[in-house]
């Protein structure tokens, strides 16, 4: 391996060749000798131990540092470069670094990463280039020691979480004196204050609390039911690979599942997540150890769209394997007629018979734009095609609605919030 310094040296020696052309072979010999000396005098890049230190999961767009310890096992000082082979989307800022490790010393190589993709990003190898004392030549060796970085989804809809949680708490407050009924459970007993509904007075408790001070009316308070089950089913089949605006449909689904998962787990519900195409590809449960949002993010970060048709037929089985109780089943998929009629519709009755089902789907803003284009002939034809797609999607949604399924459709940015609103509404009306 030669360096550019060899080139500059050779170009400088061209002057000598011009001055004493007869000594051509002498000059050539000099250069070759210098290069050979360097080649043999450099520290062996083989005698290096590469130790990868574990990375912490990070989110898209956030900066992470991947640390690698390089231990020089040889007796010579190692000078040169090290290149960490991170894949391009890991966004390594300083993948190529200068090295200077003393004999039997060690050095930490810190690579700044700004990942642009979720999932497991890898660096398969680290190459070490050792240069001789003259800097003319050296040796290079590839150490195949992999390094991985778990990159979680961006969760841009995190900003909605505080407001939705407040809504939930308001719901709690609003239902403090709510009448017993579906969707509420007994919370506590407290003294009657003016304004409470007289129907919520618990006469038996009032009778028990008779004391010398006089009459104390006791009312029962109610709160929305807790410990409901929310099952998030993310469709990762071929329809999820379709790009709407600038991101795949799957990413909008992931964002929506993250927001709803975080919200429901905060509200005290038990959340299960599964993504599927032909079979279940990822799972997460709020009963697992750790903060559920992290558990869910890690599970979701590995989901990639598969170019196969989704197999909805196993969905009822998977859901009943998770719970035998009534729960909220959220299916994040694409609502367009062909895939719906063949896949989801036939299995829906089995789900709706026992559970409350919500189908969430991304609406394409491009379609509406395209439908409004009336300027040119081809524009009008394209508009007609777009109108037709819209009509078909609406018909499909209506069909779902007729089966007792709640349909949430929104453009990618708004889908997480819309789905969260749907959940809150269901909870408020006690339909969960």
């Amino acid at each position: 391996m030669l360096t550019y310094r060899t080139l500059w040296a050779a170009l400088a020696m061209a002057v000598l060749v011009v001055l004493v052309p007869g000594w051509f072979w002498v000059w050539l010999g000099l250069l070759a000798a210098a290069v050979l000396v360097d080649f043999f005098a450099c520290a062996s890049p083989r005698k290096v131990q590469v130790v990868r230190e574990e990375t912490r999961p990070t989110r898209i767009g956030e900066q992470a540092t991947a640390v690698t310890r390089l231990e020089n096992l040889g007796a010579r000082a190692l000078r040169g470069w090290a290149k960490d082979g991170w894949q391009p989307t890991a966004g390594a800022r300083n993948g190529l670094q200068r090295l200077r490790i003393g004999p039997e010393g060690s050095e930490l190589m810190q690579v700044q990463l700004v990942p642009q993709r979720r999932g497991q990003l890898r660096s398969e190898h680290l190459s070490i280039r050792s240069v001789g004392p003259l800097g003319l030549a050296g040796r290079q060796v590839v150490h195949r020691v992999p390094h991985t970085l778990q990159v979680l989804p961006e969760f841009a809809s995190r900003k909605h979480l505080p407001s939705k949680l407040r809504r939930l708490r308001e719901l709690d407050g609003a239902t403090a004196v709510q009448l017993p009924g579906a969707g509420t459970e007994f919370d506590s007993l407290r003294d009657y204050v003016r304004g409470d509904d007289v129907r919520s007075i618990d006469w038996r408790a009032t009778a028990r609390r008779q004391d010398a001070a006089g009459q104390h009316l006791v009312v029962r308070t109610w709160r929305p039911e807790r410990d409901r089950r929310v099952i998030l089913c993310l469709d990762a089949s071929r329809t999820s690979a379709a790009r709407i605006a600038d991101e795949p449909r799957l990413d909008a689904g992931i964002e929506a599942s993250l927001l709803l998962g975080a919200l429901a787990s905060h509200a005290g519900d038990r959340v299960e997540f599964l993504s599927f195409a032909r079979e279940v590809t990822a799972r997460a449960s709020s009963s697992e150890r750790g903060i559920f949002l992290n558990v869910l993010s890690t599970a979701v970060s590995r989901v990639e769209p598969a170019l196969v048709e989704a197999d909805f037929s196993q969905l009822p089985g998977e859901v009943s394997a998770i719970t035998a109780h009534k729960s909220l089943v959220v299916i994040l998929t694409a609502v367009d007629s062909p895939s719906l009629h063949e896949g989801l519709l036939p299995v829906l009755p089995a789900l709706t018979a026992k559970h409350r089902v919500v189908v969430a789907s991304v609406r394409s803003p491009e379609l509406v734009e395209q439908a409004a284009d009336r300027r040119t002939v081809s524009g009008v034809y394209a508009a007609a095609a777009a109108e037709r797609s819209i009509i078909e999607a609406e018909a499909a949604a209506a069909e779902l609605g007729a089966m007792g399924v709640d349909v949430v459709q929104a453009v990618p940015d708004q889908l997480p919030a819309a789905l969260a609103d749907c959940y809150i509404r269901l909870k408020a009306t006690g339909k969960l």
């Binding site: 150490h143 095609a385 109108e387 037709r388």
Partner: protein, 402 residues
């Protein structure tokens, strides 16, 4: 624990060797094959070449001549031929013309040699080259006759033929030309001959007769041997100078000095040195820092693609009426929602309600439109969009005033 994470150098070499085993073997095999073909090949593929074993070569003739102890000395330059002539005063000269003319000086020298009794045989199928050599002394004659299917006919030596070789051969069968010389052997027509004697030597215009393919026809072989070896009178000659004029003659004649001769002494060393620098630059710039890193790219399909494609299909099929109907039903659906008419509303009712709301005619949506051209379609689509806009505005006004 503290072991190097890369394999040791000998292990790495062994692994590389086993990984590249197939290619190394293939390279070795290729080298062997190339070497063998180099050794087997005679290297002569020139037309009428004395070592060419193809159909158009003279290998058969030259082998027979060599068996008779006659050495063929091939040369492509006039200078070499001249030196050979000086060294071997008895040797006959064969000049085979194939596109290039010999130098004028050499032609004259040959004419003088011929005068002095040396055997000179000019062979060429292109008779205009021979007339050039003879400086217009003779003119080109007709071509040898050919049969109906393109097969050559036999030409007899003729009664006026005086050359012993031709007399022995009696007949000739090949394609070729002839020269108007007045006398000679193998006449074609009135006074044109294939073999004739001129001031510069013997002229033979059918070289095709001596090729490996045709040498066995009629008297071809006898004529060839008679002309080149056995029959040449000078029985003591043991070699033939076989001269084929080529471009090499004219190159040497160039009188200009090469500009390269005037370069300073350090030029060539410097040039080599800079070439070396270029090689160093290639090596320095071409060495990657480790293997190429690949990115597993996910599959991403634009969702609007299918819709756009469907629109193009409509257009290609000229589905004007169907397109208009789709647009109309889409607008009807939206209008009924805007005007709060419910799902089951009829087109007529919607049109009526729209007209009432906007105060303008809304009959375009009432029944299927009669459009037949693209222009009509665009106008219709724009009318629909305009109507929806107006209804939207009117409804908003109404509701805000309520």
């Amino acid at each position: 624990m503290s072991a190097p994470t890369a394999a040791s150098a000998p292990a790495a070499v062994r692994r590389a060797a086993s990984r590249w085993q197939f290619w190394i073997l293939l390279l070795g095999l290729g080298l062997v094959v190339a070497l063998v073909t180099q050794l087997i090949e005679t290297g002569d593929s020139e037309t009428y070449g004395t070592e060419n074993t193809d159909l158009d070569g003279y290998a058969a003739l030259s082998t027979v001549l060599e068996d008779h102890g006659l050495e063929i000395q091939r040369t492509y330059s006039a200078q070499a031929a001249r030196e050979l002539m000086v060294r071997e005063p008895d040797a006959g000269v064969v000049v085979l013309l194939r596109g290039f003319l010999p130098e004028d000086r050499f032609t004259e020298e040959l004419a003088a040699e011929w005068e002095d009794g040396r055997e000179v045989l000019w062979i060429s199928e292109q008779t205009w080259l021979l007339t050039e050599v003879l400086d217009g002394e003779v003119s080109a004659g007709p071509r040898l006759p050919a049969g109906p299917a393109g097969t050559e006919e036999t030409v007899e030596a003729g009664t006026g033929c005086e050359h012993p070789a031709a007399q022995t051969a009696e007949s000739l069968r090949a394609s070729g030309g002839s020269l108007h010389t007045g006398s000679g052997c193998f006449p074609v027509g009135e006074d044109a001959f294939v073999l004739s004697e001129t001031s510069h030597g013997l002229m033979f215009t059918a070289p095709e007769a001596f090729t490996n393919q045709n040498i066995t026809e009629q008297g071809n072989a006898a004529l060839a041997l008679g002309l080149l070896g056995a029959g040449t009178g000078s029985a003591d000659a043991d070699s033939v100078i076989w001269y084929t004029p080529s471009g090499a003659d004219t190159v040497g004649a160039d009188q200009w000095g090469s500009p390269l001769d005037y370069l300073p002494g350090w030029f060539w060393p410097l040039l080599w040195w800079l070439l070396l620098c270029a090689a160093v630059a290639l090596l320095a710039a071409g060495r990657r820092y480790g293997p190429v890193v690949s990115e597993p790219v996910p599959v991403v399909v634009p969702a609007a693609e299918a819709t756009v494609g469907r629109g193009r299909l409509y257009q290609r099929a000229n589905a004007v009426a169907e397109t208009a109907e789709v647009l109309r039903s889409a607008h009807l659906l939206r209008l009924s929602r805007l005007l709060r008419l419910g799902r089951g509303a009829e087109a007529g009712q919607i049109a009526e309600a729209a007209a009432r709301t906007t105060g303008e005619d809304a009959s375009v949506v009432a029944e299927p439109a009669r459009v037949s051209t693209h222009d009509d379609l665009v106008t219709f689509a724009q009318t629909l969009a305009g109507l929806e806009d107006k209804v939207t505005r009117a409804v908003r006004m109404q509701r805000s005033s309520e």
